[in-house]
Amino acid sequence: MTRVEPSEQVSLPTENAARPAAGGGPWILAGRRLSHNRSAMAAATLLAIIVAVTLLAPLYAHHVAHTDPFGSNLAGRTIVDGKHVDVLQQSGGLGLGVTPIGPTWDVHHYFLGADSEGRDVAARILYGGQASLLIAVGAALGSMLIASVLALVAGFFGGLVDTLLSRLMDILWAFPVFLLAILITTVSLTQGLRFGPISISTSGVVLPIVVIALIFVPFQYRPIRGQVLTVRERDFVKAAIVQGASARWLLWEEILPNVVNTLIVFLPLVMGINLLVESGLSFLGIGVQPPAASWGSIIGDSQNLLYTRPWVAMGPGIMIVLTVVGLNVLGDGVRDAFDPNVRRLVPAA
């Protein structure tokens, strides 16, 4: 897993983004700019479709494929070309081993085939998408929240607090980030996740959300702290502080709007990175825990079927790529919308 620093991928919105411009607030203006950006709109549409499709998972599983995407179905049977067959089929010759059926391209019966537990791969990809997207969003919001609080504390109080926090972040920064995620996860899976008296279940999507949120805090902390300091250093803010402006005014009127803008610009890109990290962890078997599934865990489970049933791995893989491409293009669009002066990374498609 590569170490991807969101701070390096996007240029921060400069101050004009936050200053009111003619013809409406900055958000309205940004929204208007975004809606004129065709590639960003295409990406948003793609993402909307992906979200909608994953939300339809129960409909597909219960009313189209009539399958339980999570339960073991080792002895299951289905219909292919009008004939009843085993979902897990016995080998010929010496008869060693069983192989799940491959794609039937029939939406009612194992459209993309079965996995090694005899479960419908297509239905699992839809449900897996829910988990993957939830983790991507949840972890992005989580790490941003923690990083913002820490950065606000550091930037606001300055001095020793700032030094200590920033040094702590520097130390965490030196951890091999993906290995840190692996370490926290394996430890947490054994005894549950505990913060003092609070204990969090490791099943489902909670653990990956917490772990991914935690490991990216140092990477988000730096730019947000920089943002806070920049605002504080501005002449009119300095002047206001000298004139006795309240801390609340400073926080709500000046610092928060800027930080929120930064976060909005980060959000899609961070979500993309989170999705990749989650898929990596789940691929290693330490992300989303069975019987729940994410795109990454479906790929991880299919390692024993890679050569005979490549669709089990490639199906969710394509979904990951599409989603992350969509998030990146949308992210570029959002950044451009908030800060049209920054040159675009992606040429308009």
Binding site: M1, T2, R3, V4, E5, E8, Q9, D170, I171, W173, A174, F175, P176, V177, F178, L179, I182, L183, I184, T186, V187, T190, Q191, R194, G272, L276, S279, G280, F283, L284, I286, G296, I299, Q303, L306, Y307, P310, A313, M314, G317, I320, V321, L322, T323, V324, V325, N328, V329, R343, R344, L345, V346, P347, A349
Partner: protein, 324 residues
Amino acid sequence: MGTFIVRRTLWTLLVLISISVLVFLLFFSIPGIDPAVAMAGRNPDPATIRAISHAFGLDRALPIQYLLMMKHLFVTRDLQSYTNQGIRVIPEIAAAAPVTLSLVAGAVVLWLVFSIGIGLVAAVFRGRAIDRILMILGLIGIATPSFLLGEAANIVTQSKLHDTPLFHWVPPLGYTPLSQDPVMWFKHLIIPWVVLASAQFIGLYSRILRSSLLDVMHEDYVRTARAKGLSERRVLIRHVLRTSMITFVSLFGLDLGSLVGGGVVLIEVVFALPGVGLLTFQAASGLDLPVIMATIMYGAFFIVLANLLVDIGYTWLDPRIRPA
């Protein structure tokens, strides 16, 4: 300068010590997983478990245990694994390190050559079809998890097209040391190199380079250089590229440190390369603290080193920072 180096070294030491303490505490936050039980085998006698606990110092106070572990790791260098009995940790890392280094080195060559080439071409032909195609390909590369691309490569080269002349030369997954058979070493690694470089790195770096190239082309000193009548190519290579490499190099340094330190675990898993990442992953899965400690320290060392080199490289590359 002298004080800078001293301060920097002390800081590095502090970072590494803090990381070792953090790892140690993280591990001991798990109650009930007693390494001595794992070591005592099936149906062990409680007396045996106590004896093993004592022999490994697991019955001592935590700070003493920490110091003992550090002593075995750095002073006597005979730290032993908890789960892989009788196996020493340092030789294990020494054996895994060349695998990861080989993997990263080859991928780095590919990713530098291609990302600089693509970044330059895209910047020069900005807005044209070739720019768009390259940037879209880069985007797909960024969005592709390395393990997925690796599995796709395996499906094609190990199975679907293995019996065609195109991929018949591809050996079974695994690793052969360079010293043992350079040809096999290359055959084992070429596909992982391509996968590692193309998933994320080439795409990310070419896009970053392109955008900083475009930024720099409008800077004053570049305009001056142009105005002085220097050829466009000379301007591009001598002035623009060099300055544009700042972001590129700083990111590159950090990525390199992280990869050499074990960040390539997914590629190592997919291609069965017994490198540092795989070692760390296996150790973490088995909660094998001595190995985790050693590999994380090893990885953190490279990251700290990379940070240092990036800082130095920064001043060297940026004409605005360099003293006149």
